[in-house]
Symmetry: C2
Subunit: 457 residues, 2 copies
Amino acid sequence: AAVFNSISPAEFFYRNRHMAGFGNATLAVYSTVRELVENSLDACEDSGRLPFIIVDLVDESHDFVSVTVADNGTGIPYQHVSESFGKMLFGSKYDTRQKRGTFGLGATMAVLYGQITTEHAVEVHTQTGTSGGHAYRLLIDIEHNVPIVESDSTLDRDGPGTTVTIHIKGDLKRAQDRILEYLRMTTIVTPHAKVLLRINRIATATLGRWTEQLPSVPVVSKPHPRAADLEMLKRLIAENKQKSVRSILVESFQQVGDHTAARLLRHAALDSRKVGWSLSREEISRLSAALKSFDGFARPDGSCLSPVGRDSFLTSVKSVFPVSFCSYGRRGPSEWEGNPFVVEGVLASGDSVDESDVPVLYRFANKVPLLYDASDDVFMKVLKKIDWSKYCVRGARQVYVFVHLSSTRIPYRAAGKQSIALVPEIEAEALTLLRGLARELGKSARELGHRGRSVKK
Amino acid sequence: AAVFNSISPAEFFYRNRHMAGFGNATLAVYSTVRELVENSLDACEDSGRLPFIIVDLVDESHDFVSVTVADNGTGIPYQHVSESFGKMLFGSKYDTRQKRGTFGLGATMAVLYGQITTEHAVEVHTQTGTSGGHAYRLLIDIEHNVPIVESDSTLDRDGPGTTVTIHIKGDLKRAQDRILEYLRMTTIVTPHAKVLLRINRIATATLGRWTEQLPSVPVVSKPHPRAADLEMLKRLIAENKQKSVRSILVESFQQVGDHTAARLLRHAALDSRKVGWSLSREEISRLSAALKSFDGFARPDGSCLSPVGRDSFLTSVKSVFPVSFCSYGRRGPSEWEGNPFVVEGVLASGDSVDESDVPVLYRFANKVPLLYDASDDVFMKVLKKIDWSKYCVRGARQVYVFVHLSSTRIPYRAAGKQSIALVPEIEAEALTLLRGLARELGKSARELGHRGRSVKK
Ligand SMILES: Nc1ncnc2c1ncn2[C@@H]1O[C@H](COP(=O)(O)OP(=O)(O)OP(=O)(O)O)[C@@H](O)[C@H]1O
Ligand SMILES: Nc1ncnc2c1ncn2[C@@H]1O[C@H](COP(=O)(O)OP(=O)(O)OP(=O)(O)O)[C@@H](O)[C@H]1O
Ligand SMILES: [Mg+2]
Ligand SMILES: [Mg+2]
């Protein structure tokens, strides 16, 4: 007879670690650095300080690598450290604000991979603004998805922040170049960060700080009505049982005033005075259908987002790449299934290294560089839709395209955060953005051509 | 201050349903059919009966679709029905035997999507060989990942099997062709199945049964030593605390006899008489490294796998495609990270519909057709590595390549089961397989060319 049982989220991601970016030794080192650096940058931005991150990679014997990431961020409150690193689907980023982190998995995946490939526990040193320093050594009980604290002591630190050290089996030599590229790309979309990379204790690269301008701080915004599936409506109604469905709509959602609420309720054939708890599933379903199909909403509120911004993005691209022409564009805020988003882009051109008639594409999502799995990505699809030969002087200049998606939810294809799914609204905005940037490139190429010709005469 | 909390697996896949194949209305209908049909086929094969599956798709008003899948399989034991459909990470397929299902997510994802887009609960009618029939109406409490049973009654059925009906918001017109193709491809790798597709109650297609030959029944095999990471070793040792490490190796793993165990322990610098509970983490780590790096193991035991097989595969391809040349090949059993696998392929050619110099590729994993996300797939990569112009007479004939991966674990890129990650061992075997099949195609094309010429003279 069949044996039925349930597995914990940690057991699921242990068995399917391929999906989370921990499928092989090279990718595991890269993913460990990525997950820790992204946590550090989220924490630095929450602290309001200019981020300073130190990444230490040390080659140990027999294909073992130790990865240490230190930051000057908020630190982790004492009582949450063990679960932050020893429990899957746990974290502080589950609200609707743009952040790099979103799943509650990353740090714990790195701990899990380190624990199944080496005998070392993870070491976390942390201090918040309101506490002294703490040092922890942690493991994860995979079957039960709970942390195992090996040691927990106080520690003297020189200020708030977090330092995490994880030992993993990995191929540092192979992962090294990708890690450097990842850190360099990180400063493109996080130009106010300074990142120091040390390999085997030798300073290999100092990247950034390209600007001291802090990015805007995203604030939690009300959900957009287009996100209202039956589950979300059920939860909002449960929190406002006594209220009328009209006031639930106006108070819970953004872009819904009295007038719009009246129209929506007429559309759903619902009496606006009906109280929350009296709505049947069938009525909630009609309300969800009305919200999803209504196309009269104003643009979504972009205050939950934090794009890079024109000045910072142009500055960082010019600081990292040898470019002479550089142009910025931005679309949105729009929404996909009720998730507000903005797409920004920089198109730059510089002297050509090798002949290429398609621009080099660099993709970013919520300030995370996406370096793998480009073929199925929505931005790659958009890049290929454009006939670049119309806009570029072939072969004369190398063209770079940087595209950054900011959203309260990124439609990643897998938990390893490398590729964005083909969402029509995102694809449409990105296409308009890139076409606009391509036209500017074409205009500048013609002007350059004119100037070139006038000089040659 | 940051607010920390944990989310349930259902909440995680609710927020990130893109990753599980439920990202848009067309894909949702396709994925619902796929998840239910795969469950049905697993159950039929467990029952030992020839599978007969009926798929009913009904267009309801306003973009709503009802999906009903009925099978003559084992049925679901009474006390496990609610969790099978109302709890993520729950199921009966967590052992190391080849099956279509592996995550414990599929059916529950379909229930979740139906529940957040329509007011209907899922209906499950089921009967096992040892019970009467039961009828359930279920929902899932997403925040807590537990089922909500709306109704539970006895039901008269004409024998064991299961019928599931889910209502979802979806675009049936758009999904219809893909669903038909999916079912047709299903019969290629499950040729002993008969599938009836009805759309709006009209019989649209009857597919299969191409053979009455049952596939081999996979049995649970011992883990392969190359799968021994520290977590697996820790669990095996915990179950055998009193035993010597030598007998733990010999009894727990396949392909490890006394002689091999002695060599491995020497390699790990461990005394073979040491008892399980006395091993330190450091010693377990040395043992894992020795097992992972040892290259003297015999071929893995393939009894946990159930390939399609030469006769069945050739029969099914010829039954579905208009082909005149058809050749079969198979590699393995080999292992990837200790997971046994076999790669089978059929290369066929028939009259050409349109000019194409690259064969049309059909991918399968554990008898599941993979119709989406081909660009990043390991088999697509291998297909492109071969210079087909060397083997095919260009344009004269349409060439089809069917590749099927059987394994105790499929390295899917995401939970939506559409694309296989680039695992070196799988890539290497698939390349050898396809080269062999391509050579046979070349040979047959030359023979045909000779015959053609001799006729023309
Ligand atoms: N360097 C750090 N500074 C401050 N807080 C941190 C740091 N690293 C981890 N955390 C805390 O630990 C939690 C869990 O981190 P983890 O990476 O597992 O998940 P996440 O960042 O929330 O989401 P994701 O899986 O998308 O990365 C975070 O939400 C954050 O609150
Ligand atoms: N038609 C069916 N006949 C018999 N058992 C079934 C059927 N459908 C579902 N089940 C049972 O319900 C369990 C859960 O199904 P579900 O699809 O969610 O997960 P799974 O098939 O185990 O894995 P996966 O997520 O990879 O599909 C199965 O393991 C199986 O035991
Ligand atoms: Mg994180
Ligand atoms: Mg299933």
